[in-house]
């Protein structure tokens, strides 16, 4: 899936720029990057559990359960923003 490719996501924006809009977008970028990392990790963990390479944790169990039910997954996962 295309969104699973690496996003550059404003990583090159440094935090020491004083321009308010620049700082805003830098923060947006780092938030997006962190969220993307945790979503990817969660999904990769699900795959590992399915393949038997990882033991289930409560977090993964909840994730798998809510993925199959299709309800409120985002809240369960703390995949907050959108």
């Amino acid at each position: 899936m295309w969104w699973f490719q690496t996003f550059r996501t404003l990583q090159k924006l440094s935090a020491d720029n004083q321009d308010p809009l620049y700082r805003l977008y830098a923060r947006e970028g780092s938030t997006g990057q962190k969220l993307l990392s945790s979503v990817r990790k969660d999904l990769a963990d699900v795959i590992k559990v399915c393949e038997g390479g990882l033991k289930q944790t409560n977090h993964i169990r909840m994730l798998m359960s809510s993925l199959t039910k299709g309800e409120n997954t985002v809240r369960v996962l703390c995949w907050e923003p959108p």
Binding site: D19, P20, R27
Partner: protein, 179 residues
């Protein structure tokens, strides 16, 4: 929100940020407001940017939202410099502002039967003095993050059709930003 809704939404947000990261100039970009993680912070940042650039005090700034208008040559009429500094050009079908309960006709709000209207690109401006048309009648409307109306991003004064009278305040007309 289910994962099947959340993932495409998240991907679009990342796509916006990704395209922003390729810009050299971040002060003059079209932005999908509802697609930001901190949309209120965007409004605050535009305010700070204008105050800084114009050497104006933050307290003296008033927010203007020009519906379906961008690059207004009369923007920042105070110093006579046309400046589209902080406009929101919400071009794409998915990313514009939506007007609920009214239509935008001849530069004013006209009540409709309650349906939602997708708006063309609009601009946000910060002005120092009131440059409003004294003959127009204004109503203060909330701009919500999305149509569940739980998060107010900001409120704006918009002109409305006088014949609607007080109905405009009882019809719960509002704008939403999520597209």
């Amino acid at each position: 929100m289910s994962v099947s809704e959340w993932i495409p939404d998240f991907a679009r947000r990342l796509a916006q940020l990704d395209s922003l990261s390729e810009r050299d100039n971040l002060t003059d970009v079209d932005v999908w407001l509802g697609g930001l993680f901190f949309p209120e912070a965007y409004i605050t940042a535009t305010r700070q940017a204008v105050a800084h650039r114009k050497k104006w005090s933050l307290e003296t700034l008033h927010l203007r939202l020009d519906i379906e208008r961008v690059n207004d040559p009369n923007a920042f009429i105070i110093d006579g410099m046309p400046s589209p500094y902080t406009y929101l050009k919400l071009a794409n079908l998915f990313v514009g502002l939506v007007l609920e309960g009214a239509s935008w006709v001849d530069d004013q709000l006209v009540l409709n039967q309650g349906e939602s209207v997708r708006l063309n690109p609009s601009q946000v401006r910060w002005v120092q003095a009131d440059d409003v048309d004294p003959n127009a009648t204004f109503v203060n409307l909330p701009v919500y993050l999305n149509n569940d109306r739980s998060d107010v991003l900001f409120t704006v004064d918009l002109p409305f059709d006088k014949s609607a009278g007080s109905l405009v305040s009882t019809r719960a007309v509002c704008l939403t930003a999520s597209g």
